[in-house]
Amino acid sequence: MSELKLMKGNEALAEAAIRAGCDAYFGYPITPQSEVLEYLSREAEARTGMTVLQAESEIASINMVYGAAGTGKKIMTSSSSPGISLMQEGISYIACAELPCLIVNVNRGGPGLGTIQPAQSDYFQSVKGGGHGDYRLIVLAPSTVQEMSDFVKLSFELAFKYRNPVMILTDGALGQMMEKVEFFEQQPREDIITGWETIGKPDDRPSNVITSLHIQPDKMEQINIHLQKKYKEIEENEIRVEMIDCEDADYIITGYGLVARICQKAAQMAREKGLKVGVIRPITLFPFPYETYFNIADKVKGILDVEMNAGQMVEDVTLAVKGKIPVEFYGRMGGMVPTPEEILEALEQKIIGGAK
């Protein structure tokens, strides 16, 4: 039986982790996502026996995740931008060792210590690898509190399907705001042992080793080729994108996460003025829906990309349309959130004005 509740995004995400049958959470407090650790500390152990541990740092958290994920259990951590920067070495190890796990990044404004207000300035460090080496996380971008819950379950499914770390990339506003959310049913905590896990070596198999070290370059190249093949497969199978009022659109506004909702409002206002505007919202940032943009470029006159940063996803949108139509950018930075009015004005000036 599903339940309807009014909840903060961070708490909905934590509740969903318990319900998804997550086995352990390791984390370190940082605003604007500390509610995840707090909620789990209160609720998790008594309800499902889930382990919750406050580590001494994000470096320790991600390495605890690495160790625990190697046992084949459902493991997660969460943090916000500066903490994610600290985790990057560990994430690189996890990606190379192909361990399933969930990492949540509740993005705040930077660079540096920055601000605790929402931002999308971690698009690059989340979507393009982030740490050293060629690797990718599967990155999901929720735009509602409902999706903060739903994507936890989806993340674990994808993480285990591809033996790849998954990141939920959200922001301080979604983490903090309250909305109604309908929860999925409690899933059992169960071990699905498929053979690669480090859980103790029985007599009938060789020892399992989790490592990212392949010191001979030809072997390391083979590991890279294998990873790239897997990422290709993910690109072929897992693209998720929402298209709103795009059928008759002359112009597109695009953005991910919370911004996509503000874009929707701006598109609505545009339609009231007689302008046919649609919205494209990528749900998976890796894999990125390049084809969606490429195809729509034959039907529309221009795309306005809106982000809470200095312009990061816009590089992918620009790549996607291959020069067929103009792509312009509008962004706010440092924790500022764009208004629908600002977006409409930018659309009129940069795209509609420019396309005449």
């Binding site: 352990a24 580590a55 958290s61 605890m64 690495y66 625990a68 190697g70 103790g200 070290l213």
Partner: protein, 274 residues
């Protein structure tokens, strides 16, 4: 060890040098533990790492716990520990082995979990993880190889390098006024309530080898109590980077390392210290 040397050949597949025909079952008085893989150690001749690996394997075999053990390898000369120890293992990032071991132990509390770390790994880059793992009293076993040097990267100064001792980054000897004093991390963590059994051993003499083996066995056995962290420091040699023969390095260790890093139990479950 030299990282580059490992790239050269099919090191681990090379078993052609072993001639099994001369070994008859009735002649065998000493064998490789079954918990050691059939691979030649990459360690330099006379290096303490190989001795300690063997002891861990012997203890695991004798306790009959091979299927219950998960080990964590460091970044350091022992990075390939999983090529020798025939147990499930995870290779951690530099310094993070005890956080990785914490993650494993927290989700598999009834398994035996150990981390194997060098002095740079455990007492420099991983100091935070070491202290907090011990402070939480994680029910894991640390095996800490203190050779006073960064072996793997070619002999740079370690946090444990003795005053006046030369390394490639203290070429005129460690000057404590600018480089700090050697860190006795073992005494430091022994002061934490979370640690249960803390001892310092060495393996350069047969009697000491037997003592170290006993300590390792105790470290594994005490995990069953779930009463805190077990921590075994092994004062070790690094003949290659100390620029000595194995024998010279053992003498040097005895004369120079042991007065500073004194052997013996520092903390035991029944409270006795020495």
């Amino acid at each position: 060890m030299n990282e580059k040397a490992l790239i050269d050949d099919e090191h681990y597949e090379n078993t052609t040098l072993r001639d099994t025909t001369v070994i008859q079952p009735e002649n065998i008085v000493y064998e490789k533990p079954k918990t050691l893989k059939d691979a030649d150690f990459h360690y330099c001749p006379g290096c303490a790492h190989s001795v300690v690996h063997r002891l861990i394997a012997e203890v695991i075999e004798e306790m009959g716990i091979q299927s219950e053990v998960i080990g964590v390898a460091p970044v350091g000369c022992a990075v390939f520990a999983y090529n020798y120890l025939d147990v499930d293992m995870t290779e951690a990032a530099h310094g993070r082995a005890s956080a990785v071991a914490t993650g494993i132990k927290r989700v598999l509390p009834d398994k035996y979990v150990f981390s194997y770390q060098g002095d740079g790994d455990l007492a420099a880059i991983g100091t935070g993880e070491t202290i907090h793992t011990c402070n939480r009293g994680e029910n894991i076993l640390f095996i800490f190889i203190n050779n006073g040097i960064y072996g793997m990267t070619g002999g740079q100064m370690a946090p444990t390098t003795l005053p006046g001792m030369k390394s490639t980054t203290s070429p005129f000897g460690r000057d404590v006024s600018t480089m700090g004093n050697p860190l006795k991390i073992t005494e430091l963590i022994a002061a934490l309530p979370g640690t249960y059994y803390v001892t310092r051993q060495a393996v350069f003499k047969p009697g000491l080898v037997r003592k170290t083996k006993k300590a390792i066995q105790k470290g594994f056995e005490l995990q069953k109590d779930k009463k805190g962290t077990c921590f075994i420091e092994v004062v070790a040699n690094c003949p290659s980077n100390w620029k000595m023969t194995p024998l010279e390095s053992n003498h040097w260790l005895e004369e120079n390392m042991l007065p500073f890093y004194q052997l013996g139990d520092i903390k035991t479950p029944n409270g006795s210290n020495n």
